[in-house]
């Protein structure tokens, strides 16, 4: 990863923010409802991508189980919405329970009657689950691909559990949220969706700043240290387990928030959020955008999903080919992702190749030494 940092002029940064905020405020009037909803969903996905970038791009932990935390956040939000709008159904419990002959609310639904509890549950429950899984795995110094495989197995555990329990959480059908009420308004209605879009946009920016804060300073340095040489970090006296568990929990919390936002905008949460392909897709958003560049994760998530919906509308069969090719391409040809390529030497090399920009002559060994120094 390149150590070079772009420093933009302050005025450029300021005008960038002004344009961005103006776009966010104006988006509902510029875009048709359908596209606005899609954009909102993809923006919420970019929050989970930020989490993946924190654990993979900065700490080197490739988790294939972020879908667990994403879905948990979604389920928390959906359970609250289902309960608050179940007053007209028999026994005052959500409608689907009647299908399976359940008359009493399962105990773990009870706390979700409170909006405050739900507000915290959406991010704390995924964070706790992530912390527990992470701690158990990291404590044994299980890392690299073993970590990936174990997170994938945990994903299947959760998927099978949620998929099989009709009587507890409606199993494979999932929980619908678009016809539920929130503060007296229908969640699926246009005005609510507009508000959700704004909330999502604000939270994406907030999550971005939060992630930037996490990777700055000593904590971030240790994360990068763990990625590059974990034994050395351990021998220097730090306990990598704690740092890894914390950052994995943070990623879990971000995934939970993202899942809740995605759920209220897509109108349903189901075990499909916990399928294996979806969790791997999250990784590819980050990989394409540029791992280790937080902005890259956001842009990757939004653009790839937008491309996906556009391509799937035009040529349904070809998206799988494109996606598969993207995986291969980004790994073999563009390991730093698009943003990493731009920030690195990519454009200069490209221009040089076409003879548009002259190479700067330097003393050869100087160049080589510098490169080696950068890599370490």
């Amino acid at each position: 990863m390149s150590l070079r940092k772009f420093k933009f002029d302050k005025r450029i940064v300021l005008s960038f923010w002004i344009i961005l905020i103006a776009l966010i405020i104006a988006a509902p009037t510029l875009l048709p409802v359908f596209r606005l909803n899609l954009l909102g969903r993809y923006l919420s996905l970019s929050i989970v991508a930020l989490g993946v970038d924190l654990i993979w791009g900065y700490t080197g932990l490739l988790s294939l189980g972020q879908g667990i935390f994403f879905a948990l956040g979604g389920y928390c939000a959906a359970m609250y919405l289902q309960i608050t709008s179940s007053s007209e159904f028999p026994n005052n419990i959500p409608e689907f329970f009647a299908l399976y002959g359940v008359e009493k609310l399962p105990f773990f639904w009870e706390p979700f009657k409170s909006p405050i509890f739900t507000f915290f549950a959406i991010w704390i429950i995924p964070a706790l689950v992530a912390g527990l899984i992470g701690f158990l795995v990291f404590r044994n110094r299980i890392k690299g691909v073993y970590f990936s495989i174990l997170t994938q197995a945990s994903l299947l555990v959760f998927f099978n559990f949620f998929n099989g329990q009709q009587k507890l959480i409606n199993g494979t059908n999932g929980l619908k949220t678009d016809v539920t009420q929130l503060f007296g308004q229908m969640v699926g209605s246009e005005s609510m969706q507009r508000i959700f879009f704004w909330i999502t946009a604000i939270l994406v920016i907030a999550a971005w700043f939060f992630a930037k804060w996490v990777v700055r300073g000593r904590f971030g340095n240790i994360l990068i240290g763990i990625r590059d040489d974990e034994p050395r970090v351990r021998f220097t006296g730090y306990n990598p387990v704690i740092f890894k568990t914390i950052v994995f929990s943070i990623a879990g919390a971000l995934a939970g928030i993202s899942g809740a936002l995605y759920t209220v905008q897509s109108g349903i949460v189901s075990p499909q959020f916990m399928t294996v392909p979806f969790s791997i897709e999250m990784v590819i958003w980050v990989a394409v955008g540029g791992r280790g560049t937080l902005l890259g994760a956001i842009l990757g998530a939004v653009f790839i999903n937008y491309a996906k919906s556009l391509v799937s509308e035009a040529l349904p069969a070809s998206w799988m080919f494109i996606q598969g090719g993207l995986f291969i391409l980004v790994v073999t040809a563009l390991p730093e992702g698009v943003l990493g390529w731009i920030q690195g030497d990519g454009p200069r090399n490209l221009l040089q190749r076409f003879g548009l920009k002259r190479t700067i002559e330097t003393y050869p060994s100087l160049e080589v030494n510098n490169k080696e120094g950068n890599n370490e």
Partner: protein, 384 residues
């Protein structure tokens, strides 16, 4: 007694499917450190090979030999998946040795492409493509040494690829015009019907065993024995083990690590094809058939300890027997009057999906005590 035998057989049957599927993965992952997420799709190719072979054997010329198609398809599946695996190694995986996380992502991309390929390309032309791959990859290796070493070898190679492409197109169109079922692309699942001698059941010790399950156990047994013999007795097996232990040293001693990589990956992928034949006997075959097995296979490899075939064998039978015990709620029938809370718990987990939950949870707990599996590799390195 009968109950126990029944349970044991079921467990072994589940375990042997897992084993034959995990065997190739254990070799590729254990010996080369490559995470091949396309392993399930290579299995799927094997299963489709069985289906295509079956349809081709229904043609009038081959009709008399119809009963033996399943044996033929085992070899064909090995070759088809092996060749696709070799192509994969030559084009993508070779660039990614030493970075397992990257291979994981790249092979996932490959698996997506293979799935969609089966959906949107007619099987007849798929067969043609595979045939041209086989010819293109293997024809140049059969040339005499004199040609191989000449400067013009690349032209020979090129012309053999042209020949391969022509043969592929020809066979593809011949198959698609003779077997109508293969001439159109479809995303639907297909069914492989076992030949008559494999239908029905056999009675052993008063318990009825389905013949297809026995066949799978036999296939697994033969694969395990063959691969053990190959690795431990043959010259290439020795080279593979040498490269596994110390790649640089083997390279210095004159072992072509490049060839070893190709052979190892080819065999691992070929075994996936054999597993595909076994899977096709169990149920219908679809583009997603591999995905059902891949995570289970990885669990077997992790549980058994990497690079250890005995561990793989024990782990898969262990998981198989446990799956049967939990999934069918057999503990209840063995011990009918257990206390209520316990029996409720067992009933809760007595479905296929919940048994999976339980098994994975047990594996994670097991790894708390033995993080490197049943038979860990010994070493004093800090890493790995």
């Amino acid at each position: 007694m009968e109950l126990l035998l029944d349970s044991l057989f079921n467990g072994v049957a589940i375990g042997s499917v897992l084993l034959v599927a995990a065997l190739g993965l254990a070799i590729v992952f254990g010996l080369m450190g490559v995470i091949n997420l396309a392993h399930g799709e290579l299995m799927m190719l094997g299963a489709y090979t069985t289906y295509v072979t079956q349809l081709i054997f229904k043609l009038p010329i081959l009709k008399p030999f119809y009963n033996s198609y399943i044996i033929v398809s085992i070899f064909l599946a090995f070759i088809v998946s092996g060749v696709v695996g070799i192509l994969l190694e030559k084009t993508i995986i070779r660039k990614l040795y030493g970075s397992p996380l990257e291979t994981l992502l790249a092979t996932w991309g490959v698996s997506l492409i293979l799935q969609q390929f089966v959906r949107s390309v007619p099987l007849a032309y798929g067969t043609g493509l595979v045939i041209s791959l086989i010819i293109g990859l293997f024809l140049p290796t059969t040339f005499p040494l004199k040609i191989k070493e000449s400067i013009n070898f690349k032209y020979f190679k090129f012309s053999s690829w042209i020949l391969a492409a022509l043969t592929g197109v020809l066979t593809g169109s011949v198959i698609s015009s003779t077997v109508s079922k293969l001439s159109r692309a479809s995303a639907r699942n297909v069914d492989v019907t076992a030949p008559s001698w494999m239908r029905g059941q056999v009675e052993i010790l008063g318990t009825a065993f389905p013949k297809t399950r026995l066949m799978i156990i036999v296939i697994t047994l033969i694969s395990v024995i063959a691969i053990t013999l190959f690795l431990n007795q043959s010259a290439w097996g020795m080279r593979i083990r040498a490269v596994t232990q110390n790649r640089q040293m083997s390279d210095c001693l004159g072992i072509s690590t490049e060839k070893v990589d190709i052979i190892t990956f080819g065999i691992g992928s070929g075994l996936a094809g054999v597993a595909g034949v076994a899977v096709s006997l169990l149920g219908s075959v679809g583009p997603n058939v591999g995905g059902n097995y891949i995570v289970g296979c990885f669990m077997v490899v992790v549980l058994g300890g990497v690079g250890n075939l005995l561990g793989t064998v024990l782990a898969s039978f262990g998981i198989g027997i446990m799956t049967d015990l939990i999934g069918a709620g057999r503990l209840l029938s063995i011990w009918p009057d257990m206390p209520l809370p316990l029996s409720n718990t067992i009933n809760f987990f007595a479905t296929t999906s919940m048994a999976r939950v339980m098994i994975f949870a047990l594996i994670v707990i097991f790894l708390q005590f033995k993080p490197t599996g049943l038979f860990p590799q010994k070493g004093r390195m800090v890493e790995n």
